[in-house]
């Protein structure tokens, strides 16, 4: 396989001479001279037809639920009952005073704080190591990215088995060193770290590929010039490679923070939010409130509180980057 050909931005392949020639030949009798590009496009009213399928789907499955959920958050809508009543802001008042909302929100933030740094740093190190062009490119990319292709249920099975008390690989390895056993998923003080460990292993490959693509976009001439100027390998790393990655790293950090805040799958499948609710993320609380306690109105209100937080964060984070660029 070709090892070093990840182009970041593909370019339209305009290499079809026959089609181009046929297309440029003006038909006799058509008023080509007076037709400017703009009027040609304006005469074309097909836009509605082309945008319709997407617009309808987005309206039905994105816009409507957004509005409907907002409405629901002001009602006492239940999953089964048909009649619901307008209750004003009481769901929001309840949510802000609900210790479970704050606790699960806190778990979500802790998970995000613990996972973002390794997910960015480890992926950067991987990309830098692979970008050296050393033999085995295919193997390195395969090893680092493959876990990302596993579905959360498979990741949960594998890691439950690794974390198995007494007989799992981790406890057996620790026992050989006369350490442990550790309650990987059963100890309230450890479970979140175990989940972060699994998450880093599982999803770091995605950021790795983003960094790798960015690295391959750095012009070789920069390195050549630096080498001629006598810059060593470390100097080239710190003066060329890392500065060139600054913008892409900022985007990856932002994407990763938003991604980490939405954690659900691996926590739900590994600990179910336990032990003792110590790892339960906000999305699981929304799920439990809506689908276990059937309080759809209240679950919607919590969803919107959470959404507002993500939005505020994203906007705060976006403003300075806009200024820089």
């Amino acid at each position: 396989m070709n090892a070093s050909s990840i182009s970041t931005v593909p370019v339209p392949e305009t290499g079809s001479p026959s089609r181009t020639r046929r297309a440029t030949r003006a038909r006799p009798g058509s008023d080509t001279a007076s037709s400017t590009r703009k009027s040609l496009r304006e005469r074309d009213k097909s836009g509605y037809v082309f945008v319709a399928p997407f617009a309808i789907a987005a309206g039905l499955f994105l816009l409507w639920p957004t509005i409907y959920g907002l409405w629901m958050s002001f009602t006492d809508q239940a999953l089964t009952g048909t009649a619901s009543h307008f209750v004003g802001f009481s769901n929001y008042v309840e949510a802000l005073g609900d210790p479970q909302v704050w606790a699960t929100l806190w778990h979500t933030v802790v998970f995000t704080l613990l996972s973002v740094v390794p997910l960015v740093v480890v992926s950067l190190v991987m990309a830098l190591l692979v970008h050296t062009g050393l033999p085995g490119q295919w193997v390195w990319r395969m090893s680092f990215f493959a876990p990302f292709l596993l579905t959360s249920a498979v990741v949960a099975s594998l890691s439950t088995w690794l974390f198995q008390p007494e007989i799992g690989l981790f406890d057996v390895a620790l026992a050989k060193l006369h350490l442990g056993p550790v309650g990987w998923l059963s100890d309230e003080n450890v479970a979140m770290y175990s989940i972060v460990l699994v998450t880093v292993w599982w999803t770091v490959g995605f950021n790795f590929l983003l960094f790798l693509a960015a690295l391959q976009g750095i012009p070789h001439t920069l390195y050549e010039a630096a080498t001629i100027d006598g810059a060593g390998a470390w100097r080239r790393l710190f003066s060329i490679t890392l500065p060139q990655l600054r913008n892409i790293a900022a985007v990856i950090v932002l994407l990763q923070i938003i991604g980490s805040l939405k954690v659900f799958d691996q926590i739900y499948l590994l600990t179910g939010g336990g032990p003792n609710g110590s790892t339960r993320p906000i999305l699981e609380y929304i799920y439990d409130t809506g689908f276990t306690n059937y309080r759809l109105g209240y679950a919607s209100a919590i969803s919107y509180v959470f959404f507002a937080l993500i939005l505020v964060f994203a906007l705060v984070r976006l403003v300075p980057t806009r200024k820089e660029s």
Binding site: M1, S4, S7, V9, P10, E13, T14, T20, A23, A26, S30, S35, R37, D44, S46, G47, V49, F50, P53, A58, F61, L62, L63, T66, Y68, G69, L129, V130, G133, V139, W140, R141, M142, S143, F144, F145, A146, T151, S152, V154, A156, S157, L158, G168, L209, L210, L212, A213, H220, T227, R236, L237, F264, D265, L283, I286, S300, S303, F307, I310
Partner: protein
């Protein structure tokens, strides 16, 4: 092109890649053999750590159930066996779920690519009233985390009678504003002379779309399709909420329900995990370059 020519072409490309990689090595870490050995050692260690859980799961899946419940060991002392695979394939609905996942992922991919590219074409090449507003809405909705919509979306599916149907699993997944955005940026780069010339030639919008825009955009369409397919194949939360009948469960959802039913049958657990992981892993081994490319181009919104 003859086979010999193809082989020669492949070989030439491999040669070129090798030369490029050697140049890269020289430019990044320099000529020192010690540094190279050090970096290589680091790569080997990290790759081994990353592969270890999967290899470990695979080894367990070939053990006898009785031995799998003993403290971890790398080499099965009771010998290798396919028992776990046999009982998983006989008893569970694994293959049905895999089929469901395939149907769902293919439908999601086909529909997403179709409606996103159509919308992107309209945004890029037509002028119509409300285009600005629709486009702004599309970009804004990229920020919307779909996860917070599970409650109203479920209620909506309930009233549409789509709970426990493929339509209910598929439809909410086909709305991908970020893909519209990526495709539009690509379509914008198609030389407008080409399209205008075709318009003068009398080509209608459908001709433009099918015979010029889509063929020119093969690379990005494949990238988007691969990205959407991986996401749909692995999606857990929405299919998990909208299916309760095992008949309609996708692989991730079905697997999560049998976890407890197996109890302590680790070998069977690992066997089903390995079977579930195989399709995408095999696809990745075959199409690695394409997949790497598609994640790189679409993963960051085409930046």
């Amino acid at each position: 092109m003859s086979v010999a020519e193809m082989v020669a072409g492949r070989r030439a490309e491999a040669q070129r890649t090798k030369a490029e990689n050697r140049a890269l090595t020289r430019l990044t870490i320099g000529p020192s053999p010690w540094v190279r050995a050090g970096v290589l050692a680091l790569l080997v260690v990290m790759a081994a750590i990353w592969l270890l859980p999967v290899v470990w799961g695979a080894v367990t899946s070939f053990k006898h159930e009785a031995e799998a419940a003993l403290p971890a060991s790398w080499w099965p002392s009771m010998g290798w066996t396919l028992d776990a695979y046999r009982s998983v394939l006989d008893n569970s609905e694994l293959l049905r779920w895999m089929g469901n996942s395939l149907v769902v992922a293919v439908l999601v991919t086909a529909l997403t690519v179709l409606i996103s590219s159509m919308a992107a074409f309209a945004f890029s090449q037509s002028v119509f009233k409300g285009r600005g507003l629709l486009q702004a809405l599309t970009v804004a909705s990229i920020m919307m985390p779909g996860q917070i919509l599970i409650v109203p979306l479920f209620k909506e599916m309930q009233s549409l009678g789509l709970v426990d149907t493929f339509a209910g699993i598929v439809l909410p997944q086909i709305v991908a504003p970020v893909m519209v955005f990526i495709l539009k940026r690509f379509f914008d780069a198609i030389p407008s002379e080409l399209l205008d010339a075709a318009r003068i030639d009398g080509a209608g919008p459908w001709r433009l779309f099918w015979t010029i825009v889509l063929p020119l955009s093969r690379s990005i369409l494949v990238a988007v399709a691969i990205f959407v397919f991986i996401g749909a194949w692995n999606n857990f939360l929405w299919p998990f909420i909208v299916t309760t009948d095992p008949k309609f469960m996708t692989l991730p959802v079905g697997l999560s329900t049998v976890k407890n039913a197996y109890g302590v049958q680790y070998a069977q657990n690992m066997a089903s995990a390995i079977i579930a992981a195989l399709p995408l892993l095999v696809l990745f081994m075959i199409f690695q370059r394409r997949i790497v490319q598609s994640v790189a181009t679409t993963g960051m919104g085409g930046q």
